[in-house]
Every structure is written in structure tokens, then in C-alpha cells.
């Protein structure tokens, strides 16, 4: 990655025209799905998966791209959800504005959280941010004023599409969340290749060198937290709108371990990794929903195998096989010496995250 020029001319240097076509096809297929699938349960699982995807994309940015081991992301998600839900319940603000406000609440909290973590490294960061999440959860649980509803959570929140019928609103939610996923994936991929993204990876991989070259860790880390926090808050807002409620059980060690598994299996720090990991883990979880013990045992073994044998995750694995096929095809045309180095063979995932993710 260090050999690459500082700033690519296009915001998406890894995307060839063929790959744009593939991505376009995937988007069209994903958008057409609710027209084909009418089973409300299946559609519900898919919407939940997409909402998780928004959360995981936001988390991947701070965890994978910026390399800050922030384990307080679920607190930001919950803050965004509660912020949105409380505004929707207690005021007549348009629902979209309420969601935006929820995102801003999470963003402000993320910026505040970023200050103490700037002095810490690695494992200490993870504990501090996790402690932050635990405190937030306790405050929500033991809130005496009745604003958060304690362990029962918020009562029936109107949500975005309260006027639509059940089936129509499910479809509307699906498309809304899909749009958020697309926008955030594209935007964050562009950011990862911008000056900000390069600075963040520089701080992640070589903090001393980056600082010596004039990259101000303070400014960039705060920016990373702000972006990631805002998106996590939006994910929380989508959650509370779709489920019409939110409770403190969205946070904690168990959901967090599932989401970390998703990110690591997919490939931390890559653009496609969170998408692959979230969908795969969600499929396993849905199939084994009646056997929670078996589900987590399989996820744990999965995680172990992936970290030991495929450190760059599924995105990296697919990228490498893609390159091998491209090499093989290129060798058929002309017996080139080292096809692995050719530009189109570089996979979207592999260009973006180095196989070894670094501790800040």
C-alpha cells in the first residue's frame, strides 16, 4: 500500500468499468428484491441486516481504516436511536429531521469520546471506549425521569412511514435503508482514498512517521470519530424507526461480539468486507436461530479459523483468488511474467486494507 501514489486522480481507484458494472448489477438486484420476496419475515430479516450493515460500515471506518479500537460504537448507535426515538415521541418534527438530529447526537458524543482516546493506544483504547459504552447503558437503564423507559425501552415510536400499510412500509424501509447503505459505502470508500483517509491510515500504520510528516493525529482522529459516530447514530435512528422501539439490549458484550465477528470475517478496513461479513454471519444466525449455543459456537470457530488462516478476511481472500484468475487469463493471452502485478487484477478489497490491520 505504501507504494501507491499519495492521491489517486479518481476517488475510486480500484474500480474498473467491469467492476462498476458488477456493482451496478448487485444494486439493481438488491433494489428489486422486495418486489419478488413478499414473505414479511424474510423481508424483516433483510431490513434488519441492512440496518446492521449501516452500523458495521460506520464501525469499520473507525476500527479498520482509522485503526482506533473503539468498542463504544454500540453506545453511539444506541444514543442515535434514543435521540431519534425521543424526538419522534415528544415532538412533531418531521421524522427525517428527527433521524438527522439523532445522528448529530451520536456525532457529538463520538467527538467527546475521541478526546480521551487520543492519549491511549491499542488495548487501553478498547477498554476505555467499552467502559464508556457500559456507563451509557447503565445511565439509560437506570434513568429515573422516565425519558428512556429503563430496561423496557422506548414505547411505540411512530417511525418514518407510520401512515403506510404494513407491507408497503416494510418495502419503504427496505429501500430507505438500502439507499443509506449505498450512500455510506460510496461516501466512505471515497473518503478512504481522500487526503483524510490516507492520513488516517498513515497514523494507523506508522504513528510516529505520520506525525513527523506533519499529519496532525488530533484533527484526523476527531474527524474519523465524528464521521463514524454520525453514521452509527443514523443506523440507530433507522433501527428505532423500523422496530418502533429501542431498548438497552441493543448494546452489550453479546451483540458486540457478533458485530466484531462480522467485520473480522468480512475483512476489517476494506469497503466490501463489512457487506460480505454481515450478510454471511446474518445467514448463519438466521438458520440457527433456534440453537443459540450452536450458532455462537460456529461463529466462534469461524472467527478463529479466519483470523489464523485468512487474516485479511473474506474480502482479501476473494481479492486474491480474483487476481489469480486474472493472472491465469492474462497468461493465456500472452505469457506474461508476473500477472499478479497488473492493475485490473487488483481487487477492490485488497487495495484498500492491508492484510495486517494495525493497532493505533
Amino acid at each position: 500500500m505504501s507504494d501507491r501514489p499519495a492521491l489517486a486522480s479518481s476517488p475510486f481507484p480500484a474500480m474498473t468499468s467491469g467492476r462498476w458494472g458488477l456493482a451496478g448489477l448487485a444494486v439493481v438486484l438488491a433494489a428489486a428484491t422486495p418486489l419478488v420476496i413478499t414473505n414479511q419475515y424474510t423481508l424483516g430479516v433483510m431490513i434488519t441486516t441492512l440496518i446492521l450493515l449501516v452500523l458495521n460500515i460506520s464501525w469499520n471506518f473507525v476500527l479498520g481504516v482509522a485503526g482506533v479500537w473503539n468498542f463504544g460504537q454500540l453506545a453511539l448507535y444506541a444514543l442515535g436511536g434514543y435521540g431519534t426515538g425521543i424526538i419522534m415521541l415528544h415532538s412533531s418534527v418531521p421524522p427525517l429531521l428527527a433521524m438527522l438530529a439523532g445522528g448529530l447526537v451520536a456525532m457529538v458524543a463520538a467527538i467527546l469520546l475521541s478526546f480521551p482516546t487520543l492519549r491511549l493506544y491499542g488495548i487501553y483504547t478498547s477498554l476505555l471506549t467499552f467502559a464508556f459504552a457500559e456507563v451509557i447503558q447503565y445511565v439509560i437503564l437506570n434513568d429515573g425521569s422516565g425519558l428512556t423507559g429503563g430496561s423496557f425501552g422506548l414505547p411505540i415510536v411512530p417511525g418514518l412511514y407510520s401512515s403506510l400499510s404494513l407491507a408497503a412500509s416494510a418495502r419503504a424501509y427496505y429501500w430507505t435503508v438500502l439507499a443509506v447503505v449505498l450512500i455510506s459505502t460510496t461516501a466512505l470508500a471515497a473518503v478512504a482514498h481522500s487526503r483524510l483517509g490516507i492520513a488516517l491510515r498513515g497514523i494507523r500504520d506508522a504513528p510516529g512517521y505520520a506525525a513527523a510528516r506533519g499529519v496532525n493525529p488530533l484533527r484526523y482522529r476527531i474527524a474519523a470519530f465524528a464521521i463514524s459516530g454520525f453514521l452509527a447514530g443514523i443506523a440507530g435512528g433507522l433501527y428505532v424507526s423500523y422496530n418502533q422501539s429501542i431498548s438497552p439490549s441493543v448494546m452489550g458484550l453479546t451483540p458486540m461480539s457478533v458485530y466484531v465477528t462480522m467485520l473480522v470475517i468480512g475483512g476489517l478496513g476494506t469497503a466490501t468486507g463489512p457487506i460480505l461479513g454481515t450478510i454471511l454471519v446474518q445467514i448463519v444466525a438466521t438458520l440457527l436461530v433456534t440453537h443459540p449455543g450452536a450458532e455462537f459456537t460456529i461463529l466462534g470457530l469461524f472467527l478463529l479459523v479466519v483470523v489464523i488462516f485468512v487474516p485479511d478476511g473474506l474480502a482479501g481472500l476473494i481479492g486474491r483468488y480474483w487476481r489469480r484468475i486474472a493472472t491465469w487469463a492474462a497468461e493465456g493471452e500472452q505469457t506474461g511474467p508476473e500477472g499478479g502485478e497488473t492493475a485490473p487484477a487488483e481487487a477492490a478489497g485488497a487495495t484498500e486494507g492491508s492484510p495486517d490491520q494495525h493497532v493505533a
Binding site: 491499542g122 466484531v260 487474516p311
Partner: protein, 298 residues
């Protein structure tokens, strides 16, 4: 605050501190030697609790046997955990992400152990017979159950035993040598390959013994290790990663904070107050009480 409260706080501090210390000292030992934060230590507590349940309740045998069985079983399990989840990664030992990668793999082991227990035993909380019953009155209104007293004594003995082991024995000195300088230790002929599983087995065995007592205090159930793991993490970070004396001080300091908070504001708020204190400590001292920036050694 009355005298009863103060005596109560002192007694609770010693008991909590000893048990936190027993779990946390294993994590410190592992961090000092292997540079990894072992997230599977909580599961070892859970396994210890289930062994205590099996031997004391199902089989109805002697409590001493439960302690010995838990020690041996979790020793083997801990050594296996090292061989499965850490040894394959040792060649990446000098990579900057080693700490985080092993954090994830040991966490995966914890996930597997917890959920295998869930599949076998179900989610129920099982009562474990206390190792010893009865209690003595320390002061007006302050009773000290023998179970907790024994727990504190055994913890202190094991911690002291570990100290002697590290200071005096051949293997203990080898562990310290590896913690101080891996390459020099290897050149002096220390069998590093055997030492790593030994260290993790030893640490896990301490957690397993803690589980035998904690099972009697609370219950044996698949998630029984979650809270001890969180508390041990707090202690380890508070004391400074890799510093054995720091861990022991931190264990009693955390015990004192929690005991005081329980008396003053009640049990519900004791954990969030603990986290609040940790937030403050880490903001002021980013490397814990006795930790050294980036290089904390045994």
C-alpha cells in the same frame, strides 16, 4: 458512615480484592510473557464453576478434590487454548497488530467454550454447594461466611505461591526471562515453545480455582465468566498491563472502590461508578497505575 459500615467495607474489600486478584494475576502473567490479553480467562472461571458443580453436587465428593480437579482441567484447557489460538500466530509476534489479533482469537475461544457449555448444560443457573459452610461474626452486624474467608485465603496463598514460583523455581525464572527479553532467553536455552502453553495453563488454572469459589457464591451457568472477565480486565488495565505488583494493588483498590460504592449508593451503581473511575484514571494515567509506556514487564 457507622463503624459497622467501615468494618463491612474492609471485609468486602479483602474478599473482592483477593478474588479479583486471582483472576487478574493470570491475565497479567500471560500479558507479561506472551504480549496478549487473554479473553478466554473468563471461560476458565465458568469451567471451574461447572467442575465444582459436577464434583460437589452431582457426585457429592470432597471440596478439596473439586479444587484440584478444576486446577488440572483448566490447566490443560488453558494450554490447549494457547496451542490452538495463539501458537499459530506466534510468527507474527512482532507485527504491530499482534495484540489485537490474539485478543480476537482468544475471544473466539471464549465464545466457543461459553456456547458449548450452553449447548451441553442449557442456560440454567445451577446452585453449587459452598466449599465450606457457616460464618463468623466479625463485628456487630458484619458476618463473614467461611466460604468467602476460605476464598480470600486460598487466593492469597495462590498469589503468594505464584510469586515464589516465579522468583525461585527454574520454570518460574524461565517465564520471567522470556518476559524480559525473548531473544536473550532463547539464546540461553530456555524452551520457549514449551513455556508458552505452560504459562497460559498456569494462569487458566488460577482462574479455574477462582471459579470453584465463585460458583459457590453465585451460580454455575454458561455466562458465569463474563463478569469476572470484565472485572479482571479493569483490574489489569488499572494496574498497568504486565505489572504483577500493579495488578495486586489494583485488585484491592478496585475492591475498595466497589465495596464503598455498594455501601454508599447501592449495588446497581457500583459497576458504573467503577467504570467512571477507570475512565478518569486512564485519562490521567494512560498506562495504568504501575504500567510503563509501551513496555510493561513482569
Amino acid at each position: 458512615m457507622s463503624a459497622t459500615d467501615i468494618v463491612g467495607i474492609a471485609v468486602t474489600t479483602i474478599i473482592l480484592g483477593s478474588i479479583y486478584g486471582l483472576v487478574a494475576i493470570g491475565m497479567t502473567l500471560i500479558y507479561g510473557t506472551l504480549r496478549i490479553l487473554d479473553m478466554s480467562q473468563g471461560s476458565m472461571v465458568m469451567v471451574g464453576s461447572f467442575i465444582a458443580w459436577g464434583i460437589l453436587v452431582v457426585a457429592g465428593w470432597n471440596p478439596t478434590l473439586a479444587i484440584i480437579a478444576a486446577f488440572i482441567a483448566t490447566f490443560i484447557l488453558g494450554a490447549l487454548t494457547q496451542l490452538v489460538s495463539v501458537q499459530p500466530l506466534m510468527r507474527r509476534r512482532n507485527a504491530i497488530d499482534f495484540e489485537m489479533v490474539t485478543f480476537i482469537t482468544t475471544f473466539a475461544v471464549a465464545m466457543v467454550l461459553t456456547n458449548v457449555a450452553l449447548e451441553i448444560f442449557g442456560p440454567f443457573q445451577r446452585n453449587v454447594t459452598p466449599v465450606v459452610t457457616g460464618s463468623i461474626s466479625v463485628y456487630h452486624g458484619v458476618d463473614l461466611p467461611y466460604q468467602e474467608l476460605t476464598m480470600a485465603l486460598v487466593s492469597i496463598m495462590l498469589m503468594a505461591g505464584l510469586g515464589v514460583f516465579l522468583a525461585r523455581t527454574r520454570w518460574g525464572m524461565a517465564i520471567r526471562a522470556v518476559a524480559q527479553d525473548l531473544d536473550a532467553a532463547r539464546l540461553m536455552g530456555v524452551p520457549v515453545g514449551k513455556l508458552y502453553p505452560l504459562t497460559m495453563g498456569l494462569a487458566s488454572a488460577l482462574a479455574g480455582v477462582a471459579g470453584v469459589f465463585l460458583g459457590g457464591l453465585y451460580f454455575a451457568y454458561p455466562q458465569a465468566g463474563d463478569l469476572p472477565l470484565l472485572e479482571a480486565l479493569i483490574v489489569v488495565i488499572f494496574g498497568g498491563l504486565g505489572s504483577l505488583p500493579g495488578t495486586v494493588y489494583a485488585a484491592y483498590a478496585i475492591g475498595l472502590i466497589q465495596a464503598t460504592a455498594e455501601v454508599i449508593v447501592g449495588t446497581t451503581w457500583s459497576l458504573p461508578i467503577l467504570y467512571g473511575v477507570i475512565l478518569l484514571v486512564l485519562i490521567v494515567r494512560p498506562y495504568g497505575l504501575l504500567g510503563k509506556p509501551s513496555e510493561a514487564r513482569l
